[in-house]
Symmetry: C2
Subunit: 222 residues, 2 copies
């Protein structure tokens, strides 16, 4: 991806299916004058996605591309790519987009397509994450922004955040704790990419100029 | 497990195969006057285990039970159990013990047998953990003290610690960072058990009176 310098902002597309709380965190970030990315287009695969309201309220262009109107996944994804390209999007951010994307789309946007997942990958891929974290008895969970690869919830990791799990958590309470971090790391990951500080090396990501925080957490603490 | 109160200390057995750095952290903890556990016996499955020296230096009873001297795993494990019972051990701590334990042994010590694993379970079970964490590009790793179940590196989690992974880590550097936390959480887990604050509920552990540290970490931070 080209470096973004001297005031030019990286143009991103955001794909949503629902309420779009991660979209909101990106909208909020792009309102900052010095944020190096802007949202070129928000696409929802269903007209009822509440995130569309958020985009409109922020003056961001929106488009509904209803997957049920297409004869195949391939045709649907071609329409997605055409809309993203037409609006000049250089990076695509999945934000609660509930359609699986097939290999041709992933390859067309290779290293330009990122996702946020509400677990500390590689643990707890898939759905019903917080329920499974609690049932397993994990003491920590978190969230992950990663480049998308054909395998679900896999791909080079840009940023992760970690939070403790408490004995009295239920899935909603845990989800709320993780969501706070999601809203921090998604704009952060986009910023790092827009600043051209992110380099994908095979399965890994390297971040130029990342500070080393030599910290640790223990749960339970005592 | 019986509560330990009024000055009685929980008697633990420690099983080692190698240098025994986690054994050392337990030895150091038991030297504190108010620590609620004591080491009844250190067993190594090989006479050359350096951890035996650590135990002798601390005045702790040791025994070598050489697995190669037994016709079967079952006979070896019976010898382990006999030695542990003869020395009055109520809790068994695996500390770099490199023999897989079979179901009869695990069942005989059910909820009285704990292990420490150098990853944030359920991620990165097995060996060569730090190499795999780095190859995967995980931004966080850690360590886990858990009750042992027949499946390897599985079982109800008592304590976990988390540390960041940095882009320039090699396995040795990462191992050293995780080891610092291992040396904190193993004595902590034993203390929580000795204080009768640990209750296993199915796949999960509940800890009485655990403080809630509502904290988070992000890596990279910026």
């Amino acid at each position: 991806m080209a470096a973004v310098g001297s005031g030019r902002r990286l143009r991103i597309g955001v794909l949503i299916s629902g309420r779009g709380s991660n979209l909101q965190s990106l909208i909020d970030a792009t309102k900052q004058a010095d944020y190096p990315a802007e949202i070129g287009l928000v696409i929802a695969n269903t007209a009822g996605a509440y995130g569309l309201e958020r985009a409109r309220a922020a003056g961001v262009a929106t488009q509904v591309i209803d997957h049920t109107a297409y004869a195949s996944r391939g045709a649907f994804e071609t329409a997605l790519s055409e809309a993203l390209n037409a609006s000049g999007c250089e990076l695509v951010c999945l934000a609660g987009f509930m359609r699986l994307l097939t290999e041709p789309f992933v390859e067309a946007w290779w290293d330009r397509l990122i996702n946020i997942h509400p677990s500390l990958l590689p643990a707890f891929r898939g759905l019903q994450v917080h329920e499974r974290v609690i049932a397993y008895g994990a003491r920590f969970t978190g969230c992950t922004v990663h480049f998308v690869r054909p395998a679900m919830d896999d791909g080079p990791i840009v940023v992760q955040a970690v939070v403790p799990v408490f004995d009295d958590d239920d899935p909603d309470r845990l989800a709320a704790r993780v969501l706070i971090e999601e809203h921090r790391i998604y704009p952060l990951a986009v910023r790092l990419i827009a600043e051209a500080r992110v380099r994908v090396e095979g399965a890994r990501v390297r971040i130029a100029g990342a500070p080393r925080d030599d910290v640790s957490l223990i749960n339970p603490r005592a």
